[in-house]
Symmetry: C2
Subunit: 211 residues, 2 copies
DNA sequence: TTGAAAATCATACAATTGCGGTATTGTCGG
DNA sequence: CCGACAATACCGCAATTGTATGATTTTCAA
């Protein structure tokens, strides 16, 4: 017989915590040995008591669920963290992933979907609620026509802009490229005109694609 | 009665294309009005003939599937693109998402999973094969210990650094914060010492975490 | 309450940078 | 061959920025 997937739950609202625990513990192949009301309690207990999966509410009193994941993931990288939240705000999703969350689902998901997601998570997947997944995929998309301003630069100008972006001064770039500082200044001036900017930082921001 | 989800298929291998078309066309609620052997053929036809979903092979002769998506997504942003591939190499996944793909699944997925994924895609989700989803989620994770240098800055210093990063000059920042320019310069000097840098660009690079 | 840290402002000087004009050389396509 | 353009280089001026020294006020925790 294969062993159960052990699931810890971090959730401050009593009724939700209870029903989640009952759902998980009652299902075949799952067990819920422990639950927590606060992030702090989870951080105290979990690093010394192994579980496979942690269901983490985001909106907790005191430390929030995202910071809790950040701490726990650093201490227990093998644990799988599933964020459970009511809402699908933009930024929290990405903050959670940066903190080390492996999955992000909405609480309105039906129970059988939740169990399915836990299984998938435990098997190395990263189940996401569909609207969340769309947000994440969309965050990579770079629309058409992003290469109109930079490709009017000559190779030499790009070379110089690249070195500027690394924090080098006019003089340093001149030495690196074995040309006169005034030449570099001229190039930079041309770059500014082509990119319609008036300082190094603005040029570098455009070069590195930040608005 | 609700209308079928219309699915186009781009796939050069005859047997695979046929079996996909039969699978989709035979399923209830789906129809496959058209298939293509090459990216070029799809780009010719699709912009003037609406479909809901496009199954796109990546490994095509001539133009590859990713560049094909890039073109089509720019012309038909409402179409949903599902990449279908044999392998789960690192970079192609992210290139596909950047190009505008909304879903990425492995060909070894069972037929019923494929139909399920098409439905989810059409309903606004972004279904990913589990190993792919894990790759994507993991790409956001920033390991522990990223906040050693920046958190020695005071809130005011961070505020100023943030505005510098947007390309504002000393004087502009002073006006925005209603303080004297010399105060801003003092803050900036303190920032430089804490971060061990000697120019705006270097400071901003550290602030935005690009080495 | 007392001391440390943070935020504020001033003055000064040197270096870097932004902006303008001009000029020479080489390369490439029509 | 000629014109367009890229790359090179110089001079000069004004503004911004980097560095240093010093001082006052506010805030907050020990």
């Amino acid at each position: 017989m294969k062993t159960d997937i052990t699931v810890a739950i971090v959730e401050d609202k009593e009724p939700i915590r209870q029903s989640l625990a009952i759902l998980v513990d009652g299902a075949d192949g799952f067990s819920c040995p422990v639950t927590f009301e606060t992030a702090e309690a989870a951080i105290d207990y979990l690093p010394s008591h192994c579980v496979d999966v942690v269901l983490m509410d985001i909106d907790l009193p005191g430390m929030n669920g995202i910071d809790c994941v950040r701490h726990l993931k650093a201490l227990c990288p093998w644990m799988q963290f599933m964020m459970c939240t009511m809402y699908d705000e933009d930024e929290t999703v990405f903050d959670a992933l940066k903190a080390g969350a492996n999955s992000y689902i909405l609480k309105r998901s039906p129970p059988h979907k939740l169990l399915e997601a836990i299984t998938e998570l435990h098997e190395g997947g990263s189940p996401m609620s569909s609207t969340i997944a769309r947000k994440i995929a969309g965050s990579f998309y770079v629309g058409p026509m992003v290469t109109t301003e930079l490709d009017i630069l000559t190779p030499r100008e790009r070379e110089i802009l690249d070195r500027l972006s690394k924090g080098h001064s006019h003089k340093e770039v001149a030495n690196e490229l074995f040309v006169s500082p005034t030449t570099v200044r001229k190039h930079i001036f041309n770059i500014y005109q082509k990119l319609q900017v008036h300082s190094k930082i603005e040029a570098v921001n455009k070069y590195l694609g930040r608005k």
